[in-house]
Amino acid sequence: MLTIKSAAMALALTTAMAAPAIAATMRWAPQRDIVSMDPYSYGDTFTLSVLNHVYEGLVRYDATLQIEPALAEKWEVVSPTVWRFHLRKGVKFHDGADFTADDVLASLKRVSDQTSPLRGNLPAYVSSEKIDDHTVDIHVTENYPLLLNDLTNIHIFDQGWLVTNKAEAPTDVAKGVEGYATSHANGTGPFKFISRKPDVETVFDVNPDWWDKRQHNIDRIVMTPITSPATRVAALISGEIDFTNQAPLQDIPRLQASSNVKVLSNNELRTIFLVMNQSPKAFESDVTDKNPLQDIKVRQALYHAIDADAIQKVVMSGLSRTTGSLVAPAIPGYVPDLDKRLSYDPDKAKALLAEAGYPNGFSFSFLCRNTEFVNEEQICQAVSAMWARVGLRPNLNVGPTTIQDAKFDTLQFDVGTLGWANEPMLDSYSILVQVVHSKTGNAGVFNWGAWKDTEIDGLIDEAGRTIDRTARLALQSKALQRANDLSMFIPVHQQPMAWAVGSNVKDVLQLSDNKARHWLTHMAD
């Protein structure tokens, strides 16, 4: 009979009685559950950040978001297409197996499998080769500068464990067979997987044999997702949970007022901006013969009409960072000069519209989601109202991500929202190649506005071939400059992240990538 400690009563008595049995339990309530215990199941950023407590990559980000050694101790570039990794010795998996080159090979094989959803996270990977038990060569396409960034999120499996449990290939939902790795785990990380009930509770215990120095004092992490923001707040205030990485913005004053809750808020790496469809004809507008959005004056008019400060103050409760830049300051390639917004100036917006030949404005569809970004629906409503005041007639269309994204993909919109965090690369190359570059080959998958600018494409392509970091970033900044000059997008803000912790959590590290790293968390004794 297995008794599982779950959200206990808020009674001090219960806590006091539970205390001797479990020294320090971190009760963590995220907004939603992780999708699987298998790090190669989806490219979901949140899931990967949770699984990082159990699994580790060859390299990782340190407390300043710089890359540092993890399972690989050091590495060198042997040739433009070959990287050599020297693996850490003496590392053991949770089941006791030794960590060797075979594990790296098996993991890379699994992640690059034809059916692996995570294949796109390692775009330049060609093959890998075992040199000796603790040395691995990774072959990549020519001059790829961002391999290390990609590897931070490629978690390493134990080869023997994969073979024993017939999980060498990634789980293929289409085959209808449950993958062993979906509900079991065996990594090298600071915590061991104990049990899991999807959407209800997942439990991790400390790994006493971790190779790295233990800086935390957590013995057990119990993760219980609470989707309703109101309930999450109630649970925090009444002490039923210790930590949430999604504190609802509107409830932050109340949480701050509560004596047993501490709020940590900061700006995320994710920039929210508006995309404008560049097709020759508008999708849904009273202008039927052409597309007003192809005119830079119209794009600037839309920009000038938005009172970003009001959105920051009211919709985002003063917690977002209003921006004119497509990337956050922490992202390499960011230039402070590009972080200036076009002024909020409704009269100028009207004048620009008149100049462009639309003195009475025009109607267009405005596509938004209600589940994707922080307060996205409210942002869209506020922006619609602002546009309406300069004579534009936006038709706001809000729906779930699944339905709206299909519309974005097929250009069935005029204006819409997009957010980009540059995960997991943490480099502006990510947004440039995926969002700004025209749709060619692997590039431009999220170029929803269907931009085709040869000059900007050239700059991005060149950056992708440049190994020298400084030269590469200069090229990327130039590309971002051009995107601003053309008013290709209307940046809104870097969205805020807000965590909240109970009084028994002393220290928790919050970085701008919005990932919890509980191996650096300290609970009160």
């Binding site: 409830d251 109340r254 809000v398």
Partner: protein, 315 residues
């Protein structure tokens, strides 16, 4: 049929006097609960019909929403300001206006779905009961099938089907229609079963037999003789079901499959407000919840009274 206006007014007066003296009216005047409920409903109906004139703001018009007027508390609290009597939400929408416009949507959808389901149900019941045979069998099996799926699930399903079939840009426009359909598709069964039973009894009565023998057309028998007999119980059932219909619409909207946030019904307002329940802006959720409860309670009390009044057996 043309009648002199004067005569018509005269007959109206007579009719009214007769109505006033009837058992029903006497019963109504002497039931404080029924009088209070009816008054509440009349006030709510009046304000929602004339919302455009009475309310300080049209909450559907984004031009009238100002972010700097967002999150104002009710006027009697500190920081509240006229004309936002019950405060504003985080888009600067006046809560009172939103409630009154929202009540209009809730009432219209409730009444429409009762009307639609009653029409379908009475028709099906008359046909099944009077004609009988294979038609009766088929219609009643269909009714069984509909009743075999929990009502709430049917409504969610139907709502999803139609939303899926419609192009996205029409979904919001047709949302009320979809809801009426979703609610009607299950509730007609109640009327059909009841009407069928009454019809079968009436059809065997002597006067119907006599009419049949002298070759009165079937349609005429059904409309002139049987229909009047089923209308009273159908109307009582309708009133009793109105409360359920309004409640069901609110539940669907609360779950996010009903009215969209651009044209919120009371259920939608509660769903939206629920996100801000602990942020101190309690007025965003509490007032719509009170109004919704008040409407349903008034309708239910009135329906309950009507049933008892028309069913003297229970007195």
């Amino acid at each position: 049929m043309s009648v002199e206006p004067k005569v018509e007014r005269e007959t109206l007066r007579v009719h009214f006097a007769r109505l006033w003296d009837s058992d029903l009216a006497w019963n109504f005047r002497n039931s404080p609960l029924a009088v209070v409920s009816a008054t509440v409903l009349l006030v709510i109906a009046f304000t929602s019909i004339f919302a455009g004139v009475l309310m300080p703001q049209n909450p559907f018009d984004i031009m009238q929403l100002f972010l700097d007027k967002a999150n104002l508390p009710p006027v009697w609290s500190e920081g509240g300001a006229m004309p936002y009597v019950l405060g504003t939400d985080m888009q600067g929408r006046d809560v009172l206006s939103a409630i009154v416009y929202g009540s209009r949507i809730s009432l219209v959808i409730g009444v429409a779905s009762v009307a639609v389901s009653m029409t379908i149900g009475v028709l099906v019941g008359l046909l099944a009961g009077y004609i009988g045979g294979a038609l009766d069998n088929f219609l009643m099996r269909l009714a069984d099938a509909v009743m075999s799926i929990p009502t709430l699930l049917v409504a969610i399903l139907v709502s999803a089907i139609f939303r899926g079939l419609l192009p996205v840009e029409y979904r919001d426009t047709f949302a009320p229609l979809i809801l009426v359909l979703a609610l009607s598709l299950t509730s007609w069964v109640v009327y059909a079963r009841m009407v069928r039973a009454v019809t079968m009894v009436e059809a065997r009565k002597e006067y119907v037999m006599a009419a049949r023998i002298i070759n009165v057309p079937r349609r005429r028998i059904i409309l002139k003789h049987i229909l009047p007999n089923v209308m009273t119980p159908a109307l009582v059932t309708g009133t009793l079901n109105l409360g359920l219909a309004i409640l069901a619409e609110a539940t669907l909207s609360f779950l996010g499959v009903g009215m969209p946030s651009a044209q919120p019904s009371l259920g939608t307002l509660i769903r939206l407000g629920n996100q801000y329940f602990f942020s101190g802006t309690w007025w965003i959720v509490l007032f719509p919840a009170l109004q919704l409860t008040l409407i349903i309670l008034a309708v239910n009390l009135l329906g309950d009274w009507l049933r008892d009044a028309l069913n003297p057996k229970l007195k």
